[in-house]
Symmetry: C3
Subunit: 167 residues, 3 copies
Amino acid sequence: MSKSSTVTVRERPVENVATATAAGLTIHGETFVVQTDQRIELVDLTARVMDFVRRFNVREGFVSLWSMHTTCAVFINEFQVALLSDIKRFLEQMVARDAEWLHNHPDHSDCDRMNADSHLRALLLGHNLTLQISGGEVVLGQWQRVLMAELDGPRARSLRIQIFGIS
Amino acid sequence: MSKSSTVTVRERPVENVATATAAGLTIHGETFVVQTDQRIELVDLTARVMDFVRRFNVREGFVSLWSMHTTCAVFINEFQVALLSDIKRFLEQMVARDAEWLHNHPDHSDCDRMNADSHLRALLLGHNLTLQISGGEVVLGQWQRVLMAELDGPRARSLRIQIFGIS
Amino acid sequence: MSKSSTVTVRERPVENVATATAAGLTIHGETFVVQTDQRIELVDLTARVMDFVRRFNVREGFVSLWSMHTTCAVFINEFQVALLSDIKRFLEQMVARDAEWLHNHPDHSDCDRMNADSHLRALLLGHNLTLQISGGEVVLGQWQRVLMAELDGPRARSLRIQIFGIS
């Protein structure tokens, strides 16, 4: 059995910026990069998402945020130093880094990052969010923040954000 | 380090009802409130989502359901008294309420709800669903129900539902 | 209290194929079936999703993948034999199949599949993905694969895929 992972290949790479319009409807997507500093790190992307949406004349619609990596997740929660520490501890408790995962074993895997725990933690959080836009702004509750979970850093992480809506 | 959580502020609050149309495309969003009675409670929102979609002349499209709270989740599962009891027990097992979470400690957190467990349980379930609409109705399997998980009640919970599609 | 689960009934069943267009915007949905061979099995649907999107003249937009079952999930991760084995082991560790779940007990449940574990595992992974389309293709990172998790097989599983975008 192969020790390698399947590679996803598009015919052409994703453009950094892409736009389409049709009769009052706008779609616009962009790629951006977040540099992380720690192996596990939670980054608040809320201001970036809100600013992105405000750049477009979209009154009602959706905005999608997509992590381009298997070991980097996006999710909603509260942004408080204490709670972020709890979330990291919880992820570490749920998935033991040093369990005997096959993905970390050279007999079974050609991945040298020893990051099975990162893959399993990402699976709990998910890789995308589709947020509503109303009145020209993202719909979020008072304590809701759009968070990125770096689970195998430090790395430069690419995320793609796409807006879809009516002006 | 701050004991407080970041507050999300829009320039204007979300309107309770908002609509936009363009050349055959309709977008319509509304906020609704669900009153819960227990600390952990699972509420079936399926009929409400189906009725919402049937009000619009949208044949093909999407409907997004968004919880406006960090400690209130939405997810898909079967609605059976026995299984709901299992789901609550599972959430309680996965995240111990009385572990020494920093979010519950006054030295680290100005939150007096002692609800770190609620935040961590919500993280497992997620805060939004984007459902397909086809033939004028929501696409759901025979046993699939749209469920809301109150994780820190009793509370009045706001959810936002937005339809997007072609008539 | 009822031992039965609520059934979701549409006025009309979902059509296997449905299309709507308006002023440059296309929506097209289809149902497809995946036959599984094991109780827990991870299936790579990436090529199927990519091929589906390439059939349409949609340059920018979204594609939604929806599992029609409560015990069959869809999620993003890397496709490597070793890691898939780790994911299955992780799901089995997180939710014990033989715990005394009420859903498996004839006094409380009329379900004879004894599959409480399947329901709880699906809850961790989720039932849908909303992927971005850009440049006529799905937006995915190099190692990201669209995976289906059969959690109570072997079964024939129905999934619905819907594209939404501008040509």
